[in-house]
Subunit: 275 residues, 2 copies
């Protein structure tokens, strides 16, 4: 089986590093529109070969590991793949992506979202183990061909991932709260500090808490603009929910209602009974 990866950054690159070890995969080839990334990917042994996009189309399995707007653009040009091929996208949004799949290749397509990543990007950010023990969400799997679904499951299982099935709409709503809202908050927190008179003298005090809360604000603005664009409605709703919570806390602090504030915080700590 020959696997082709489009996009050799953190997600695609880490995937390449793993897939080359699987005995059911003969060869991993890759494409990245960024020439520098092509070179890096070869140097880092992420893929066996860098090829043109048209070569990727001949692969048995094609991974789309590019920003979500790129997935929607590229999928239109994949209608001439072999009828048994499997296309797996790794995008962080799912509804707009599944809507964009041309009918003639819908069965070839498996919509996946591996719930993993770091704030880093590019081939140099790739590492073995990114996928291990993490969740991967497969969306609207009933619309994929059985053969294609089986191949995707085999690969994700070999990566030691835990598979969760979900409707694309539901996925996007959940992803807004668990991932997209936290990113928006982290960018907002970073900008709040940067707007202060002397950010340096504030940042000298940064400890683990602030580092954790601002880590996501290192993430690729290109990639996240696309995600926010595709999950706009859910994200706006989640921001509204969050703003209400913060406003409630603010009101309690303003009105010096310390017992109610403690209760509100106590409620928040129960999250970790579920998490």
């Amino acid at each position: 089986m020959v696997v082709g990866i489009i996009g050799l950054g953190l997600m695609g690159g880490s995937l390449g590093l793993e897939l080359k070890d699987f005995d059911f995969i003969d060869k991993v080839i890759g494409y990245d529109k960024n020439l520098e990334h092509q070179k890096e990917a070869l140097e880092l042994n992420i893929v066996d070969e860098i090829v043109e996009l048209k070569e990727i189309k001949k692969c048995d399995v094609i991974f789309l590991a590019i920003p979500v707007e790129g997935i929607i653009k590229i999928v239109k040009n994949l209608t001439d793949i072999d009828k048994n091929s499997t296309i797996i996208d790794l995008g962080s949004t799912k509804e707009k992506i599944v809507e964009s799949i041309p009918k003639e290749i819908r069965k070839n397509f498996v919509a996946a979202h591996p719930m993993t990543g770091t704030e880093k990007f590019g081939p140099k950010a790739a590492f073995k183990g990114l996928y291990k023990d993490k969740i991967v969400v497969l969306c609207n799997i009933e619309d994929s061909g059985k053969e294609q679904a089986d191949i995707a499951k085999k690969i994700f299982t070999s990566l030691k991932m835990k598979i969760v099935y979900m409707d694309a709409k539901e996925h996007d709503r959940h992803a807004a709260f668990i991932s997209h809202l936290p990113h928006a908050i982290s960018y907002a927190l970073a900008n709040s500090v940067l707007k202060q008179e002397d950010p340096k003298s504030i940042l000298i005090l940064a400890a683990g808490g602030f580092r954790d809360m601002s880590r996501l604000a290192k993430s690729s603005p290109n990639m996240w603009r696309d995600i926010f664009k595709q999950n706009r409605e859910n994200l706006l709703e989640s921001i509204d929910v969050f703003k209400k919570e913060l406003k409630y806390a603010q009101k309690l602090i303003e009105e010096k209602k310390w017992d109610e504030l403690k209760e509100w915080m106590q409620k928040a700590t129960t999250l970790h009974d579920i998490l």
Copy 2:
């Protein structure tokens, strides 16, 4: 030199574990009003002995490692210490604490804020290395006696901490942005998810990003209610700044101004050039 620690949780406990190794410290004794914590602290070898509060008063150095409201209460009862003693508080707020120090022991007092911690609390959370390579802020050090300031510096340097000097007012403003606001945000994020119809099915998707962003929401509501109370004005101001940033992003998303949104995120990523 005999050191007494009041409060044997994460901060006081981790301190006890370290101080016992220093050759200039002969004995570390402790007090905690929680009987269970007293027992745990002895079992975990955090202190050599558990004593009554009146015994602590006889120590050469007294650490106050309790919630900030507790510090203000207890400091009034420390006027009968030996005139050469050093009292060091480890509270997360500083302005209200320095204001509360009785004049007759002002020179004995060193106001410190070690910029370290975890979301855990109690003696079981204590560990060696909590202080190592971290910043400690010493506030209004010109109001402390020279001998007392020197002892504090010696201890923090022995803990391998980096000392930063700051005015208490300035500290509190900075701490609001770097620590108190991030905690309020984390509690609000946790409560936002908990308010949803089916938090479990959202939380199953949690990866590193969400875990980092919600970690602070595990912190002790008792301790944080006190901090929010003492740093109320700065915290409210920082929440306002943050809300403006988030509102700006929300507006760009609503109006589909994707280029401006990317610029806003790009600006946020520059935080990490300073941090």
